[in-house]
Amino acid sequence: MEIFGIPHQAFLGQLMLGLVNGAFYAMLSLGLAVIFGLLDIVNFAHGALYMVGAFAAWIMLERWGVNYWLALVLAPLVVGVLGVAIERLFLKHLYGLDPLYGLLLTFGLALILEGAFRQQYGVSGQSYPVPELLSGATNLGFMILPNYRAWVVLASIAVCLGTWFLIERTRLGAYLRAGTENAKLVQAFGVNVPLMVMLTYGAGAALAGLAGVLAAPIIQVTPLMGSNLIIVVFAVVVIGGMGSILGSVVTGLGLGVVEGLTRVFYPEASNVVVFVVMVIVLMLRPAGLFGKSA
């Protein structure tokens, strides 16, 4: 069987890989949106935190034999704590300044993290084995679906929906949104904003860390894995418009699929297709697909 002259296995396979990539775009752009939304900081270190998440899982496995499921909880926790430390030590001093400083600071942090891991582990990758429970593949008749990848897609969608609900539909979410605009004032109303901001950054970081753990069995765990991804995620964010959490999720998944399809029909363009989409969207809707028009 063939679809548009492409064997269906390859076609569906690429689509599937696209969806998996999209799941990562969604999770990372979600974390970015949360942090950006709440701290007004474009967290350039997000990619690095994702990388740290993956390494944390890998190191836990190598050193202490911590299994995947435990790592799925522990590694994001580690990254979350790292995030809290970053917020306390550095970002705290930037509130109220031009958001560009946040971008630059986290860029510096990304370099530090990446450099430190490169120094320690080199740039060639480490492999993390697929957990026993999810190894193997399911033959769906029309295609072979590696179980682990299906799990990644489901897990990421669940995480994204949960986060969306928390921010858009709860009182805590309202504090968070207000806090981004005028933290001082919200604090003057009696909300413990510093604590809230710290935990938010921690949570955003943990989200990146979680994505890292999910990615570890799929790709090589390397110090560069984050920086390669983060720029695409930025483009995703621009396309989606930072306006809505749900927007970043939908856009992330959608672009993953678009990329997968491009790989089938015009592989040479698969690296740039997201950026091309970004240009087109900006031309038609400068505020992004889901952004509130200025």
Partner: protein, 317 residues
């Protein structure tokens, strides 16, 4: 301008140092590289420091021009000045494209869009047939300026680079103080107000962007001629990050800051590369963080501020 006497003295001292550098035993290739990056940083600063736009994609202009120049000189046998011209023109056109897309959004979005566009250029350079992919364009001959003056010797090349650098530095100072520069200043200070005075700010921003891109392209083109190659490192996002660091470290919005910043960063990389390996990245990162946290005006900026304070104090006394 402030501190005009001191400024003149400093500039003269630096000019003298530049002219005498080869005689002092400084490695000319190193100084040339440094000057190319200094020029790059100045071009970048024209945008960030004097227009208030943070481009996170300037490597695209630097690197793409480097490739274009390299290709024309190597594969088409053009003379260096023509090759460089081609690089600059292409960078300006690329700047026009980038600008047309990115200027629709402000602030952080602008930064992210330029970054994304630059990444697109990176992938194009990775895959296009004329760039040599991962290997880069190698062995670009320096050739002879206007077909007569051979640049093969480092000394000849050196003085050409110094001349170009000085011309551009003065050019940038002129741009900043020109009537156009005044409008840029208004935009940076209060954009809606500039609009209400009847300035179509997007066009001014675009022109600033194109000028900055062209100068960044010139820096890249010159670098290709000096070093004889153009590679993916030139278009990589980390290069965009580096040029930001240079400006930030030296002092955004000061004339001499970016030059100084480029000097520090390039020297550091040179000094440390062999000794500490990957720690270089870490060190650069740390400098970034320290600059942003404690040193936002940069070395030159802090110096100027300090002199201002001192002047104010002596006036009071």
């Amino acid at each position: 301008m402030r501190h005009s006497k001191l400024t003149t003295v400093t500039y003269l001292a630096i000019l003298a140092l530049l002219l005498a550098a080869p005689l002092l035993g400084l490695y000319p290739v190193f100084v040339m590289k440094l000057l190319c990056f200094a020029l790059f940083a100045c071009a970048f600063n024209l945008l960030l420091g004097f227009t208030g736009l943070l481009s996170f994609g300037h490597a695209a202009f630097f690197g793409f021009a480097a490739y274009v120049t390299g290709w024309f000189i190597r594969s088409q046998g053009w003379t260096p000045e023509l090759g460089i011209l081609a690089g600059v023109v292409v960078a300006a056109l690329l700047g026009l494209l980038f600008g047309a897309v990115a200027i629709r959004r402000q602030g952080i979005y602008f930064a992210m869009i330029t970054l994304a566009l630059a990444q697109m250029v990176f992938f194009i350079c990775l895959q296009a047939p004329f760039t040599g992919g991962e290997d880069g364009l190698q062995g670009v001959p320096r050739g002879s300026l206007f077909g007569v003056l051979s640049l093969a010797s480092d000394t000849a090349m050196y003085y050409v680079v110094v001349a170009v650098f000085i011309a551009c530095f003065l050019g940038i100072s002129r741009i900043v103080t020109s009537p156009f520069g005044q409008v840029l200043k208004m935009i940076r200070e209060n954009e809606p107000r500039a609009v209400s005075l009847g300035y179509e700010v997007d066009r001014y921003k675009l022109l600033a962007f194109v000028l900055s891109a062209a100068l960044a392209g010139l820096a890249g083109a010159l670098k290709t001629v000096v070093m004889g190659f153009a590679t993916l490192s030139d278009v990589h996002w980390s290069m965009s990050g580096e040029v930001i660091l240079m400006s930030l470290l030296g002092g955004v919005g000061t004339f001499f800051g970016p030059v100084f910043g480029a000097g520090i960063v390039i020297s550091l990389q040179n000094l440390l590369a062999d000794k500490v390996g990957e720690w270089v990245t870490v060190i650069i990162g740390v400098i970034f963080v320290v600059c942003v946290l404690a040193f936002r005006k940069g070395v030159v900026g802090e110096l100027l501020a300090w002199m201002d304070r001192r002047k104010a104090r002596t006036q009071q006394a």
